[in-house]
């Protein structure tokens, strides 16, 4: 099968979802889309099952934190169509007070641990996840360590301060 171009892919998605899916760009040829959490499962299902696309391989789920944005937590899906050999990246931004998003485990079993990892580090709550608990950090941890406000080291430590270069 010939490699599907990003324009064709974008056209198919916008024909189906209209303005619910926005184009964020094509960094290094990887089509990046943004959608809302209401239709994320519909978008993923469409991408997975549409015979011309077949994004059947979930490469990764992760998140990113932009503290200064109105919706600071971004959940990022990387999908790969092995049949067409093309990748797509989908982002969903969530507000701080409502970090809920439906789970993708209904589509891929492999989403289970990826979502647990995202919950563990960013506190994103995947609604409907069968077993949403911490995976790499200790169970009684209270913070979500990959958020930007979480310091890498104890901030009261002075022995590593480099006053000369201000690092």
């Amino acid at each position: 099968m010939a490699k599907i171009t990003n324009e064709e892919l974008l056209k198919k998605i916008s024909d189906k979802f209209h303005d619910k899916v926005a184009l964020l760009g094509e960094p290094f040829g990887l089509l990046t889309l943004e959608t809302g959490k209401e239709q994320i499962i519909d978008v993923l299902t469409y991408l997975k099952n549409e015979p011309a696309l077949l994004f059947g391989y979930l490469t990764d789920i992760t998140a990113i934190h932009y503290p200064e944005l109105e919706k600071p937590i971004g959940v990022i899906y990387h999908l790969h169509s092995l049949a067409n050999n093309v990748r797509v990246r989908i982002k969903v931004f969530l507000a701080d007070e409502d970090v809920h998003i439906p789970t993708a485990t209904v589509l891929w079993n492999g989403a289970n641990w990826m979502e647990r990892e995202t919950y563990d580090f960013f506190g994103v709550i995947f609604d409907g996840h069968p077993d949403l608990r911490r995976i790499l950090n200790v169970d009684d941890m209270t913070a979500f360590p990959m958020r930007k406000e979480f310091p890498l080291e104890d901030p009261n430590r002075v022995d590593k301060k480099d006053y000369f270069f201000g690092r």
Binding site: H78, F121, D139
Partner: protein, 403 residues
């Protein structure tokens, strides 16, 4: 929220027994735990607990300049750390738009394929040990040492290599490295063949591995498996062939594919990949003859540290050295995903950059982490001894599991 799996069973009526497999059991080859419910020797259910050696690499990476993240990648899959290093360099080069010379690409292919051989030979020979055949392990282990000696000539270290730099290598391959490489290429095929003769058609080995833990292609894809175990299930997905990096498109190699994803198929796929890796290295050596022998890095003074002699004697080099170390060179504000074919599968680097000296966010798609999540569900109904073999052939590396 119930956090811990059940460790003990106080109910006298319960006929099932609980077994803690790990965290430091020799058969698990790493620090991770499975709490298994056993009915006799058959597994009824299991819960995997991981995270024992989590070191927060993604958080640390947000505070380190790009070139200081290489040693962090070493410590993920430490059986084939050069692949992780190269994957990271190639990601940064893609972000910065650096074109590496062909000679660098070919040298990288040599190092990456050596790493793949060292990864697979450990996995397959330890699989043989777990089935009760320790001899083959000692035959091939000698050649992991030979590979480590080649790394040593190239970068000075053996296990956690920190090999290469952004843009190329820190130094050229010397004559000893090439002679050790040629010696390895001459001697290793015979040993690999001997190891194959010990195992491939061995009645005991086949009885222990054939039809054990068979996985359908649908299940493997649904669990986002990648690497040799996905190919053993019959899906011909190899990042080197699908999205060539480091000039893999210049090479001829085959992607071996298995049929039913059982342990024996995984063994066969890894075995054949080692032969293909040898083929790739030989092709790379031929191609290198046509390349200028003194080029070992791209001409990117903004990101490639100049040699120390120049830093002390040449003002321009000193300025560049200072700018690189102080991180004063602007980088593009964009995001990049790059995958390389690691020892265990698709090793992805998702790098979001905000223009500074360190990543805004760096995520590692670690194949062991994603491959391993099927382990507990697939162990259900399996004999305990088969579950051990299964774990061995998944080649789970604790460092890559936890990052």
């Amino acid at each position: 929220m119930q956090n811990h799996p059940v460790y003990t069973d106080n109910d006298p009526q319960n006929e099932l027994s609980t077994l803690n497999l790990g965290p430091t059991h020799p058969a698990t080859h790493g620090v991770f735990q499975n709490v298994l419910q056993l009915d006799g020797e058959r597994i009824v259910s299991g819960v995997s607990t991981i995270g024992y050696i989590h070191r927060a690499f993604e958080k640390i990476a947000e505070h380190r300049p790009f070139y200081q993240i290489t040693p962090l990648t070493d410590r993920m899959n430490y059986c084939s750390s050069p692949i992780n290093n190269m994957g990271w360099h190639i990601t940064v080069e893609k972000l910065l738009g650096i074109e590496t010379p062909k000679r660098v690409d070919y040298l990288r292919v040599i190092i990456m394929e050596l790493a793949r051989i060292s990864d697979h030979l450990i996995c397959n020979s330890v699989l043989a040990v777990d089935t009760g055949a320790a001899t083959g392990f000692f035959y091939v282990m000698e050649y992991r040492e030979a590979i480590y000696e080649i790394y040593e000539e190239v970068c000075g270290s053996r296990l956690t290599t920190n090999i290469g730099r952004i843009g190329g290598f820190e130094r050229n391959f010397n004559a000893i490295a090439f002679s050790k490489l040629r010696k390895f290429l001459k001697e290793y095929p015979g040993v690999l063949k001997e190891f194959e003769n010990l195992t491939k058609r061995n009645r005991i080995f086949i009885d222990r591995t054939k039809d054990v833990a068979a996985v359908t292609a649908e299940d493997a894809l649904s669990y986002s498996w990648s690497g040799p175990i996905l190919r053993a299930a019959g899906v011909d997905y190899d990042v080197r062939a699908m999205e060539p990096y480091s000039s893999y498109e210049d090479f001829e190699f085959e992607v071996p594919v298995g049929s039913n994803g059982d342990v024996y198929n995984r063994y066969l796929v890894r075995q054949e990949e080692m032969w293909q890796s040898l083929r790739l290295i030989e092709q790379a050596l031929v191609k290198l003859e046509k390349e200028p022998p003194d080029i070992f890095h791209a001409d990117v003074p903004d990101f490639y540290l100049p040699p120390k002699e120049d830093v002390y004697n040449n003002m321009e080099a000193l300025i560049y050295h200072f700018k690189i170390v102080m991180g004063e060179i602007p980088t593009p504000k964009t995001e990049v995903y790059l995958a390389v074919e690691g020892g265990n599968g698709e090793l992805g680097f998702y790098l979001v950059n905000d223009g500074g000296r360190s990543p805004y966010r760096l995520h590692f798609r670690r194949p062991s982490f994603i491959n391993y999540q099927m382990y507990a569900p697939m162990s259900r109904g399996m004999l305990l001894s088969d579950a051990i073999i299964n774990m061995s052939s998944l080649n789970v590396i604790a460092g890559e599991l936890d990052a």
